[in-house]
């Protein structure tokens, strides 16, 4: 199984929050290797492996941040609202993919310096996207409510590092798929539930309904977290290439965190701890309070430049997440 190839396929697809189907279909095709009955419901991908015993949920969100078309100007430019947390400072001259009845290219406008009256960046809803079309031509392709993502270029950097948009959280999807690959010849003593959930970026909504549907006892949210990069605070970040970040937080199950840490130690899986002081900002926040509650944990992949078109991860870190999941699941009695 080539993790980089899976990542590239996932990252090159759209799948902005609320419009995930294109990406969910790709993830489903990979998941069907392990659960031929896997399916898509309300945009999220569901799978189940094994029967009986505890219900253990492995989740990663399938959506990516992006934009939604709110209007088309008389001269054929698009106005948008954000889906998820957008850094407005990087929008000028940013290439985008526009998902109308076909996918077209566009670019955010940039005000030339001699006309820029304000020092401050414009808000997302004050910006325009240039499609190169007249309004009349554009309306044949695009409807209000269609989604737009960052440019989807994917690049291999030095070592095992890769860069692209939507590595948050397609890296998590790849990590779960690779964990299933590691587990494929094992007899499980649990019901392993797989969820690739929608709308995390707008408030963990796919996780809310997905967890209700699955009703897990134990839930692991696989997501990305901050890797140290120049300009960041070193003590608030994980380190890229140094392994899975195991979450410890009042909102997570302490015993589960410690179990995961001891397995990582025992099996020589590179790991680091990520201590949070309340909610985690991941789908785990929903899982822990689902129905009658679940023991939740976060396993995170260190990522640089979160929510930019050029996020970076190290695929070695994905491997350590997958290995830890596999060893944990194997050990469940």
């Amino acid at each position: 199984m080539d993790i980089t190839e899976i990542l590239e396929k996932l990252c090159k697809s759209g799948g902005v929050s609320g419009d995930e189907t294109e990406t969910s279909e790709i993830a489903l095709s990979y998941l069907k290797e392990y659960d031929k009955n896997a399916f898509i419901k309300n945009g999220s991908v569901f799978g189940k492996i094994g029967n009986g015993g505890k219900k253990i949920l492995l989740d990663a969100h399938i959506d990516r941040i992006g934009f939604i078309v709110t209007s088309i100007t008389d001269d054929g430019f698009i106005k948008v609202a954000n889906c998820g947390g957008i850094d407005k400072r990087l929008l000028p001259a940013l290439p985008v993919k526009i998902y109308g009845n076909k996918t077209i290219d566009g670019v955010f406008v940039s005000v030339p310096p001699h006309l820029a009256s304000e020092e401050k960046p414009l808000a997302v809803n004050e910006m325009y996207i240039d499609t190169g079309y007249s309004k009349e031509e554009l309306e044949k392709i695009l409807s209000l409510g269609d989604t737009i993502s960052f440019d989807t270029t994917f690049k291999k950097l030095l070592g095992n590092r890769v860069s692209g948009s939507a590595l948050d959280d397609r890296s998590g999807v790849a990590a779960i798929l690779y964990a299933l690959e590691l587990l494929k010849n094992e007899n499980l003593n649990c019901e392993l539930q797989i969820l690739f959930s929608t709308e995390e970026e707008v408030g963990e909504r796919g996780a809310t309904t997905g967890a209700f549907y699955l009703n897990p006892d134990i839930a692991i949210a696989v997501d990305v977290s901050f890797a140290y990069a120049s300009g960041e605070k070193e003590d608030k970040c994980g380190k890229m290439g140094k392994g899975v970040m195991i979450g410890i937080s009042p909102s997570l199950d302490r015993e589960l965190s410690h179990t995961l840490i001891s397995i990582a130690k025992e099996k020589n899986i590179p790991y680091q701890t990520e201590v949070m002081s309340g909610r985690t900002g991941t789908n785990a926040d929903r899982f822990s309070v689902n129905r009658e509650g679940a023991c939740a944990s976060t396993l995170s992949i260190p990522l640089k430049y979160m929510h930019t078109p050029t996020e970076i991860i190290d695929t070695d870190d994905i491997v350590s997440v997958s290995k830890l999941i596999a060893e944990y699941v194997k050990g469940v009695k």
Partner: protein, 334 residues
Amino acid sequence: MLKELCLLNGGSGDEKAVREFIINEIKDYCDYRVDNLGNLICEKKGKETPKSKIMIAAHMDEVALIITSVKSDGSLVFSAVGGIEPATIMGKRVTVNGMPGVIGSPAVHNLSASEKDENPKMSSLYIDIGAENKEEAEKYVSLGDMAYFDSEFIEFGDGKIRCKAIDDRAGCGMMIDMIKGEIPFDTTFVFTVQEEIGTRGAKTSTFSVNPDIAIVLETTTAADIPLSEGDKKVCIQKKGAVVSFMDRGTIYDRELYKLAFSVANEKGIPVQTKSVVAGGNDSGAIHITGDGVRTMAISIPCRYLHSPSCVADKSDIKACYDLCLAVLSEVGKL
């Protein structure tokens, strides 16, 4: 060919790849020489000998970044070579010595409310090539290496193109086509260096060519976006070649300016002028070389200049090409 030209990397002072590509294109169609600064000077025979010596110029260099130091964490510190807005490169891709990298900066989640609302400063940006530390980075990068925008050449919308370096590879492309074709009068075509850091190549090449009349083929800012109104749009795409009366470097020869419009109208070539006195190009150096050169500029209206995503309209490029040839037929008689 424009796609190939735009995707070549050639920042100011590092134009070699562009120059070699052009030489390979034009070598069978003219006599050429390269001067000490790197300008490519091409003597092309026309159907007739003009009364005045005519030069047509476009610059080979593009805006780029130059690596000034390597940090202990392996990130690369850079300065801009030419005028670049930090916001247009933040979060975008670059290449360094052919390797992909990205322009990094702290994640938005980790900024204070006031930091989120400030435009990025060049000094807060850096290049990340995925190196683990300084030692690894230095295996691949030396100080003084240039980094280039990593853009694709995209055709989109109704006849638009999007890429880096359309400024001024589009001008280079037009000159290559003219050299390969038939032109009405003998002309010296000059592919200049170092325009983006102060029209430096134009100074030496014009001194050596010593023309009477010069035509500069360029790109110019089109601000025809909804964020600007009326005359602030400067010039408008799909409305043809832009002929300026004045910019920050040049007050253009009045007679040539009028000639351009009358020739364009006669031939049905779309033409417009700039409604804002802004910007500048090689004309600034050319027109005050020696005892002076009568100069005009014919420019492609281009959106998002000096960014990784310049946008031009193919119909405007054609208008510039047609107008340049039509003007050449007339200035040869002056």
